[in-house]
Symmetry: C2
Subunit: 145 residues, 2 copies
């Protein structure tokens, strides 16, 4: 088990990739993105369709079309992507799968994991989509397997 679903991993990596390639109105095709993040092209297409519907990224059809991110969206937090794909279980769900996480009727791990979940949430809320563009351009970070 990983922290995020595979779908969500692809989604975040793809959004980072699109963000750092989409300056001055440049659009990136699915083939390029899939190659850039080492993911199955057709599956990624579905994921990006979803993110596009949710308004996290944008797309245009036809020649010179592709996926891109509005300047204004670069400041959106990563938690938007995670919620869109994996839901908010990671932020609010009980670590042991109880139907609701509550202070009143807590599971044994409640206290320790509440703190961990809060931290995950905070990191994802304070990290933005566009935040790593420079490092990505400079090759300091990897998005490939």
């Amino acid at each position: 088990m990983a922290i995020f679903s595979k779908t969500c991993e692809y989604a975040i990596r793809a959004v980072f990739y699109i963000a750092h390639t989409s300056n001055k109105g440049h659009k990136t095709g699915i083939k390029d993105i899939a190659a850039g993040i080492d993911s199955p092209e057709l599956y990624l297409a579905k994921i990006l369709q979803n993110l596009s519907k949710q308004g996290i990224i944008s797309s245009s059809k036809g020649p010179n079309g592709g996926f891109y991110i509005q300047e204004s969206s670069l400041t959106k937090p990563l938690s938007d992507i995670v919620e869109a794909v994996d839901g908010n279980g990671l932020f609010y769900g009980c670590a042991l799968g109880l139907s609701q996480c509550s202070e009143v009727n807590p599971c044994p791990l409640h206290h320790q994991f509440k703190s961990i979940r809060d931290q995950i949430h905070q990191v994802l809320r304070q990290t933005t989509i566009g935040e790593f563009n420079e490092e990505l351009i400079n090759g300091l970070f990897s998005l490939k397997k």
Copy 2:
């Protein structure tokens, strides 16, 4: 997405349940455990078979048989259960699914998530199987949905 797989959630809850019922050599049957933690009985049976093979819990067949935990095993860390069921991806895997998490070729989220993973690992290593027995007996913690 939750932190642990459903299988692992059942496993941890079941082990807690067994731990707090298994004093003075008492053994607990699968029916009792499944009811006690609100889980599908036959699926849980498979999970406990596995934990038993891995030496985390013990079992005996026949009349008055059932599952129990050796006194000495009460001090085992929860990380043993998690590793047995979900593997160590949560502790060592890359948050964005890169084939290996490395300082040399890190993903953009490496630093922040390394710290989070380490904390999860630490909590699970320092929390023991038997640690909550008293609270469980006193009904301060819940293992049921």
